[in-house]
């Protein structure tokens, strides 16, 4: 039991470290690069992301049976939630992972984004339990 827990810590630490590094080197933590992508002034990062999706689709194909069925369903919150996220992303330049990478590259203002995301997640937790109650199909972890 202890050993599997240690393996989990190490695996997730390694994954987070690699992801932070890769995402920073692509330029996603740089608001100017991101804004250029959103107004189609520079498509490098968009192509990079699309190619990554295609690449992982191909590599994951042989494992299809082993991959746990993702509980991602279309639910009433899919579209409004995604819209809200898109607007927030354009304003703050951050998605739930990018905010940490921004902080790592020295952008202290991202602390406000971090606090904001925390409040947002907490707010959704409360409101969802009180009013929505539908299955959000969130990354089942």
């Amino acid at each position: 039991m202890k050993k599997t827990l240690l393996k989990q810590y190490l695996s997730y630490a390694f994954l987070g470290l690699t992801m932070g590094f890769v995402v920073a080197r692509i330029g996603f933590a740089d608001y100017d690069e991101l804004h250029k992508m959103f107004i189609f002034a520079d498509l490098r990062m968009l192509i990079s992301f699309a190619a990554a999706v295609v690449l992982s689709m191909i590599i994951l194909l042989p494992f299809s049976k082993k991959i746990p069925k993702q509980h991602k369903i279309f639910q009433p919150g899919t579209i409004p939630g995604s819209m809200l996220f898109g607007f927030g992303w354009a304003v703050s330049g951050a998605c739930p992972s990018l905010v940490f990478v921004q902080l790592g590259s020295g952008k202290l203002a991202a602390i406000l984004t971090l606090i904001g995301i925390y409040i947002g997640v907490l707010l959704h937790k409360k409101i969802h339990a009180r009013y929505f109650r539908w299955d959000t199909g969130s990354c089942g972890v």
């Binding site: 630490a13 690699t18 330029g27 190619a51 295609v54 689709m57 993702q70 809200l84 904001g116």
Partner: protein
């Protein structure tokens, strides 16, 4: 000027994370799920205690069930139970035992991304402490407290939106789209379109 990776190198890097995530922890990448776990750490602690109690009670429960079965159906029923092929029984137990990841592991995951970003900045000599986000961001939102208000509200939208949509760039965008899940394709198109729309509007206010 900092040189970023060309598109193909970035694609390989992101795809490697997506695949490594599956190979190392047996499920696909999803950062907003980790956020939910960390923010809801109290629920997670309760669930962990429940799970522990359940495994401890299992032995007791099995004995009770056995006694009940014997009382209800007699000795003969046990022989019938033995007829169930081994493989089938195995399958049932392995699927009911769900791999449990405590919230602290997810916190380590999130904080490691900070370290990864720091490492990247240090290695490229681009680490500078700044109180604003970027030149363009300051041009759009001003360069004083307005920036901070924008970031706070932006953050709330990101946090609330990703939880409501059931995923973010990694969960819906990278993992979901790679598996061609309809809800993820819709979500990804929606948040990209929204971000693009608002970015064009913000750009228009600059002129």
């Amino acid at each position: 000027m900092l040189e970023y990776w060309p598109w193909w190198l970035g694609a390989i890097g992101l795809a490697a994370i997506s695949v490594l995530n599956f190979l190392l922890v047996g499920r696909l990448l999803g950062v907003s799920g980790s956020w939910a776990k960390v923010v809801g750490w109290k629920d997670d602690r309760a669930r962990s205690a429940e799970l522990k109690a359940l495994t401890e009670d299992k032995g007791e429960m099995e004995d009770a069930l056995l006694a009940e079965t014997l009382a209800e159906f007699g000795e003969g029923s046990l022989e019938e139970l033995d007829d169930i092929p081994e493989g089938e029984a195995q399958l049932q137990t392995s699927s009911s035992v769900e791999q449990y990841t405590p919230w602290t592991v997810h916190l380590v995951f999130l904080l490691s991304m900070f370290v990864g970003g720091l490492l990247a900045a240090m290695l490229t000599d681009s680490f500078t402490i700044e109180f604003t986000l970027s030149p363009v961001h300051s041009k759009i939102f001003g360069d004083d407290w307005e920036v901070w208000v924008a970031l706070l509200f932006g953050g709330v939208m990101v946090g609330f939106g990703t939880q409501m949509a059931g995923g973010c760039t990694s969960g819906h965008g990278l993992s979901g789209c790679a598996r061609m899940i309809p809800a993820s394709l819709i979500a990804t198109m929606t948040f990209m379109a929204s971000a693009i729309l608002l970015s064009f509007l913000m750009e228009a206010t600059l002129v």
